[in-house]
Amino acid sequence: MTDAAAPLFTAHHFRLERETDWAELESLLDRVEKKSPKKLSEDELIALPRLYRTTLSALSVARETSLDAAMIAYLESLSTRAYFILYGCRDPWLRQVTGFFRIGLPSAVRALAPEIIVITLLLLASIFAGYQLVAHDPSWFYAMISEPMAAGRDMQASTQNMRASLYDPPQSGGLEIFATALFTHNSQIAILAFALGFALGIPTILLVAQNGAMLGAFFAAYIPHGLGIGFLAWVSIHGTTEFGAIILASAAGLHIGRGVAFPGRRSRFAAAADAGKRAALVMIGVVLMLLVAGLLEGFGRQLIRTDTARLSIAGAMMLLWITYFSFAGRRRHG
């Protein structure tokens, strides 16, 4: 028989003294999660980190001195919740958004410069290849472009038809539908190109080459009719923005592929995570660029029907993007 005298320090006393603190922390956390930290009073905001530290230290003490499994589990889950509220907090939305446009996006794009160069060269090469193939052997045309996509604009079409496809006013009025459909479709393709980067970037490269070859094939169809410049204007009014976005999306995909394949000195996981986060920033920019491209293609191209105007818009947009991505958000010297 042991003597039944209660020890001076017991888990029971320990718990009794601190229970109210824990309950207070729990109710504060509930309110922060459900509403917003802004709803807390100033006193409560000051209390939150203090209560978190008290609970955390109670957890360490309990682990060493108590055998109450339920209490330890409770303290651990409470501390974990508080940890993520306190250390996981982010800037307010507005600051996040301005930070993204001022620094985040342009510097993420600049970090992808090697991939962007590779993808641009690949795109140009595949446009050239597509053009050469179709120009020498017209049967290649339908190997690259599906029938519904061509919509009659093929090697056998008459000059008149080809001209009409570039300069005629739109038959139906649904420009906004056209613009929306273009935007959603292109964004989906861009996101796919990004996601496929995970497979070491190989599908991304194929996707770029395919798109480039398609463009080249169309050039081959228009140039014999003397409509080369016209087609260039028609495609580039939105194309400088859209192809810019596609290049960025593919470069983002390739960047991930590079991170996974060649992690350098870091662990493969760490390298992939770094590359993924940087590429994701670029992707937000890509979706926004495609929105602009969708508007230009859906409205601009249908309403503006002269080569000069189309080409000048195309040039202006290209200049705008290049300037923004090259110079925005660089640290000032001195």
């Binding site: 028989m1 042991t2 039944a4 020890p7 017991t10 888990a11 029971h12 718990r15 009794l16 824990w22 922060v32 917003s36 955390l56 060493e64 001195t65 108590s66 055998l67 109450d68 499994a69 339920a70 589990a73 409770y74 651990e76 889950s77 409470l78 501390s79 974990t80 940890y83 993520f84 250390y87 996981g88 907090c89 982010r90 985040g104 649904g174 906004e176 539908i177 929306t180 459909a181 959603t184 964004s187 989906q188 996101i191 796919l192 990004f194 996601a195 496929l196 995970f198 497979a199 991930i256 992939a272 995570a273 993924g276 986060k277 590429a279 994701a280 920033l281 992707m283 937000i284 979706v287």
Partner: protein, 288 residues
């Protein structure tokens, strides 16, 4: 069979800046899948509601502006498909409705801030994980632009991404890999009642010798705690019989009172030991 020398548990340690380790339970593949199915059902429900809205819009101003249906639907579908997950996971709870329902949340693997970029990265990867397999299955078959073997090969390839979480210890999707995140259980636990305080008087219903108190260890004590908290009469009888048999003590008191007394005294005994730096982990532990 578990391969030896490899930690296959789903518990990960995170050390806070204060130096206290917290244990995180990674979400099981099953819980993740359930959460995803709930989210998909929700998206489907929202899409149906959206379609109704679009039809209603058509009914109102359809003859003047028939494009409205298509525009609402296209934009809505695009936003849902790409931004449903991103929107909810960038919230304070870092979980979609499905994850909340299953008690899960997304966190950064290094325990730091879960950035917006990470959330975007992990969710854009869903495109290859979910929609690519569907695409190979659906489009390929419907439009006949791929033959059967291309479809099977493509589908198999896409399934590699889909089932990635099952093949790694950390249950990482491709998206988690890219974003440096993982999904953990975020279960709320109740403090529960203080068993020792509650037993009060009955703690003395039977006295136990030191040898009797040291028959078991911490592990068994905490199993007993779970049984007492549950309060299932059948389990209590079974456990009481086992302990009585082991100690060879057949005190003429109720099973619950017997267990309460044994629990309170054993715990007090072991906790005194803890203060002295002795911890008896389980009944096989002879170091203490």
């Amino acid at each position: 069979m578990a391969r030896p020398g490899r930690d296959r548990s789903l518990i990960r340690r995170l050390v806070t800046p204060e130096g206290v380790p917290l244990h995180l339970n990674l979400a099981s593949a099953g819980a993740r899948a359930s959460a995803f199915i709930i989210d998909m059902l929700l998206i489907a429900a929202i899409l149906i509601a959206l379609t109704c809205l679009a039809l209603f819009g058509f009914y109102l101003i359809g003859n003047k502006y028939p494009g409205i249906v298509l525009v609402i639907w296209l934009i809505g579908f695009f936003l849902l498909r790409n931004f449903y997950f991103i929107w909810f996971e960038s919230g304070r709870r870092a979980a979609t409705w499905g994850k909340r329902r299953m008690g899960l949340r997304v966190i950064a693997r290094d325990g730091g801030q879960l950035t917006g970029a990470a959330v975007v990265a992990r969710n854009m990867m869903r495109e290859v994980e979910v929609f690519l397999p569907l695409m190979f299955l659906g489009f390929g078959a419907a439009e006949g632009f791929v033959d059967r073997w291309t479809m099977i090969a493509g589908f198999g390839w896409a399934c590699l991404f889909l089932f990635l979480p099952v093949f790694n210890r950390d249950r990482l999707r491709a998206g988690d890999l890219i974003a440096g995140t993982w999904v953990v259980e975020n279960a709320r636990r109740d403090l529960g009642i203080d068993l020792v305080a509650q037993t009060g008087r009955s703690a003395d219903a039977a006295g136990f010798s030191q040898a009797e108190l040291e028959v078991y260890g911490q592990y068994e004590l905490q199993r007993l705690e779970a049984v007492l908290r549950e309060g299932n009469a059948e389990a209590i009888t079974t456990v009481a019989d086992v302990i009585r048999g082991k100690l060879n003590r057949w005190d003429p008191i109720g099973d619950r009172a017997f267990l309460d007394a044994y629990y309170a005294q054993t715990r007090a005994h072991f906790e005194r030991g803890l203060l002295m730096g002795r911890r008896k982990r389980d009944k096989f532990d002879t170091s203490a």
